[in-house]
């Protein structure tokens, strides 16, 4: 049985599955249920400064995007940070941490961008016995209009400054939670590191409008006929989150900085992919909000089975294994030639590959009157579209051409050597270099 325990910044947890700072972690009741269900840790719902708590809207907060059978693919929210009094939250954090000492307890914070504000809250958090803090520089709605959340996360200088304050005024490990609502995630990550952050976590939600009501023309969720952008999360955001994680993991300036991966993690497989891209733990919000806390059981059993099958005894054994394989386009091997192949036995003759290639790609699939579909090697550029649109798994595959074979499309012999764009004769800079 694989060992799922993790040690992230010295914070131990029985498994890498943490609940992200959000409604599932908003109060003692939920967090106790989560721990009973088996979650390895939680990031408590973001706390604000002392004083009158924030207020939320009193109409709908969420919007959604669905796949087949109303499967929730994307969720959007306009909820703010916790709307419960600070003292109540701190008291509950302390009790829960006391009762579950083996679980990770991280407290998410968002206070105004003034040193005094941070100085005031940090000792109070430390007093709860929490294992660390996460700085919420990500929330894209509401709080950002007040100069907090993503308003800070979008300015690397502020990130660095606030992180430094936190390191100065507390002994707790500091995780900086990044917003995806920027053009290049490496800048805020570098700033966090420069400010002394122990880790980054990402992504927070993506600014979004999920739908527009076509009767009253209000964005959804609609509050009295008006809507504001919300934060998007759930399965739909996973590809965006993974790219950002990978960018930080392979950036020479931040390489090695611990990462807690967040964004659309729904199954053990998603988690394994994030970990392979360099994450030490993963955080989940939407999957829990959709299916309840029990999903963690599948995540744990699935990850454990896969690790056993692959012979990974511990999370560290495969953590970051995909990072060296993330590269830039210019370094991809142009001598790697493949062709689509259609397995006639599993083909169900829907014709989707044909019409996709014929209408929108390279006219590289032939169709006979009795609906036999075959790839025309002379035309196939190996784009993969047919594979992607085929409803039958593994019916169409990409077959690698062997060295020495002639690609009937280009008439060129497949070369044994690796050759990328930087070396290609059509590349003006490569010629200049000669």
């Amino acid at each position: 049985m694989a060992d799922l325990t993790t040690d992230f910044l010295g914070i131990k947890s029985p498994n890498p599955f943490w609940l992200a700072s959000a409604p599932p972690t908003d109060k003692e009741y939920n967090v106790r249920r989560a721990f009973e269900a088996g979650w390895g840790g939680v990031v408590w719902k973001t706390l604000g400064s002392e004083g009158p708590p924030v207020v939320n809207v009193n109409g709908p907060r969420y919007g959604a995007i669905y796949g087949a059978d109303r499967r929730l693919l994307g969720l959007n929210n306009i909820e703010l940070i916790t709307d419960r009094p600070l003292e109540v939250n701190l008291r509950e954090i302390k009790t829960v941490k006391r009762d579950y000492p083996d679980r990770a307890m991280i407290v998410s914070l968002m206070v105004p961008c003034e040193e005094e504000a941070w100085k005031a809250i940090l000792p109070r958090v430390e007093d709860t016995g929490a294992d660390g803090i996460e700085l919420n520089f990500g929330c894209p709605h509401g709080m950002s209009e007040r100069g907090m959340g993503s308003a800070v996360g979008q300015v690397p200088e502020y990130i660095e400054m606030v992180t430094r304050w936190c390191k100065q005024h507390s002994r707790m490990p500091v995780i900086v939670k990044l917003t995806p609502n920027i053009t290049d995630v490496r800048y805020p990550a570098r700033a966090a590191k420069a400010g002394g952050a122990d880790a980054v976590s990402l992504i927070n939600t993506i600014s979004s409008i999920t739908s527009v009501n076509l009767d009253d023309f209000s964005p959804e969720p609609s509050i009295d006929g008006k809507g504001s952008h919300g934060g998007y999360c759930g399965p739909a955001v996973k590809p965006i989150a993974m790219n950002m994680v990978a960018e930080i993991a392979r950036d020479p300036e931040t390489h090695g900085l611990p990462i807690s991966g967040i964004g659309g993690i729904t199954t053990w497989r998603d988690a394994a992919e994030f970990i392979s891209l360099g994450c030490g733990t993963v955080q989940v919000c939407t999957a829990a909000m959709t299916y309840g806390f029990k999903v963690v059981e599948e995540m744990k059993s699935g990850l454990s089975q896969w690790m056993d099958e692959k012979g990974y005894a511990r999370i560290d054994d495969f953590m970051g294994r995909a990072v060296p394989n993330v590269t830039d386009w210019q370094y991809l091997n142009l001598n790697y030639v493949t062709k689509a192949r259609i397995d006639q036995d599993s083909c169900i003759k829907c014709g989707r590959c044909y019409v996709a290639c014929e209408d929108t790609s390279h006219q590289a699939i032939s169709m006979s009157p009795d609906r036999v579909f075959e790839v025309i090697d002379e035309e196939c550029v190996a784009c993969n579209l047919c594979v992607n649109v085929c409803p039958v798994e593994d019916c169409i595959t990409m077959e690698k051409m062997q060295v020495g074979q002639v690609d009937p499309r280009t008439g060129k012999t497949v070369e044994p050597d690796y050759a990328n764009w930087t070396m290609h004769p059509n590349n003006p800079s490569s010629q200049a270099a000669e």
């Binding site: 087949a68 109303r70 003759k349 044909y354």
Partner: protein
């Protein structure tokens, strides 16, 4: 004392009102919107989809399913009705397991096709529930056409002609329109008076004058029609029934299955419809199955279908055969009725086992008897003595691919015309196509 399934002889009221209601309720109830969405989502939107080719009316199935998927069942209905004006009835009665759903690639992939028939019904019922008739008559052409017979073929033809701006007179021998939709189709397939509603809805197009009780051959002659109208379409179906050629077939209790079903369909209280305790249906087609199943549903204790060949040769699809057996009907194959025994009324039926030889059947000499109060003949319908001068092919009116008969200006389609399966959907296709050909001919 009320009757029970065990009451001897032929009697009414074997089942209670509630049981009858339950037995004759809608066999495949209308999808709820979410069920429809889930079912629609399974469609792959195939290129040049095989289901379209398999549909005799060539409905653009992937398109209408996508229209359901995106929340516009009314647009989906329009797509269906464009090709098949009786799309609502066809959604209920088509043997989809041998048509569109058999061709569905998901049938090949996982033995579970997209539920095209039920989705079609979802679309057409949605539109019809809103009383929308999405077609308009074209500009008046001044041409007049006589359509004889108001079954699926005649109705489809009349509607398409009206759409093209022609004036149609629809001559129907009976007092109700719809043909076998009204008198033949199994009750549980078209529950709730759907056949009649659909006809009323169809006639909303306008330009169609109906003449009830007007039978070609009885005071209405083809020669008169051809001289008074610019064109004539014959959609008279198959009014006569094949003979059994078994000894004693004239005894009381031996009846045409089609006539029995017609009585059943027209009955307003099925607890008053008499049925035997022991019922035997001779035949192997859709009519045999419908007669047998409905006998069972009326409360007959023992119902047997006796067919002279193997199950694979039955006109009824495997799905329908299963439907019969699951209703409790016994399927006997390779048996031929030799004698009907009884004193005035039938009491027993004697069969002989037969084997199939190249093309023919040979008696084995081995016979057996089954108790019988009622024997329904479902061995095929045939054309009633047709109007003179029409060339026949087999027992049906010979037509070319456009439905033209041997007489100039006379078209025919549906069951009465040669070629094509005897199905509602085929009748619709032939009626529609003949209308287009008539329109072409009259526009020249």
């Amino acid at each position: 004392m009320a009757s029970t399934p065990w009451t001897p002889g032929i009697t009414a009221g074997r089942l209670s009102q509630e049981e009858i209601k339950q037995n004759f309720s809608d066999i495949d109830p209308l999808f709820e919107p979410h069920e429809a969405a889930v079912a629609a989502d399974r469609c792959y939107f195939c290129y040049d989809a095989p289901c379209i080719t398999a549909c005799p009316t060539a409905i653009d199935i992937p398109l209408f399913i996508r229209q359901i998927q995106t929340g516009t069942p009314e647009a989906a209905a329009k797509t269906i009705l464009d090709q098949n004006i009786l799309g609502g009835m066809c959604a209920r009665v088509c043997p989809t397991e041998t048509l569109c759903e058999e061709a569905c690639v998901r049938e090949a992939a996982e033995g579970k096709p997209v539920e095209i028939g039920r989705l079609q019904r979802y679309a057409t019922d949605t539109l019809m529930a809103a009383s929308v008739h999405p077609f308009e008559r074209g500009p008046e052409t001044g041409k007049t056409i006589a359509v004889v017979g108001a079954g699926p073929a005649g109705l489809a033809c009349a509607h398409r002609l009206a759409m093209r701006g022609h004036s149609v007179t629809l001559f129907e021998a009976k007092e109700k329109l719809g043909g076998l939709n009204e008198y033949g189709i199994a009750a549980y397939k078209t529950a709730g008076g759907f056949a009649e509603r659909e006809v009323d809805w169809l006639l909303q197009i306008g330009g169609i004058t109906v003449e009830y009780g007007r039978k070609l051959g009885s005071g209405l002659e083809l020669g008169t029609l051809t001289s008074e109208y610019d064109a004539v379409f014959l959609g008279v179906g198959l009014g006569a029934v094949n003979a059994l050629r078994a000894e004693g077939e004239d005894k009381d209790g031996v009846q045409d299955a089609v006539a029995f079903i017609a009585d059943l369909r027209q009955s307003d209280d099925l607890t008053k419809l008499p049925i035997g305790r022991n019922v035997i249906v001779i035949g192997g087609g859709m009519t045999a199955v419908d007669a047998a199943v409905q006998s069972k549903l009326l409360g007959a204790e023992n119902v047997t279908i006796a067919y002279r060949r193997g199950r694979d040769r039955m006109g009824a699809s495997g799905h329908e055969q299963d439907h019969a057996t699951s209703a409790g009907v016994r399927l006997l194959t390779h048996v031929v009725l030799r004698q009907v025994i009884g004193n005035g009324a039938v009491r027993e039926a004697e069969f002989e086992y037969v084997t199939e030889t190249d093309g023919g059947l040979a008696g084995t000499g081995e016979t057996f008897r089954l108790p019988a109060d009622q024997i329904f003949k479902a061995i095929g319908q045939t054309l009633e003595a047709g109007p003179e001068g029409l060339t026949l092919q087999g027992n049906k009116i010979a037509v070319d691919e456009n439905g033209r008969t041997s007489i100039d200006g006379v078209w025919a389609g549906g069951d009465c015309a040669a070629g094509g399966d005897d199905l509602t959907v085929t009748a619709v296709a032939e009626g529609r196509d003949a209308a287009e050909d008539i329109h072409r001919a009259l526009s020249q």
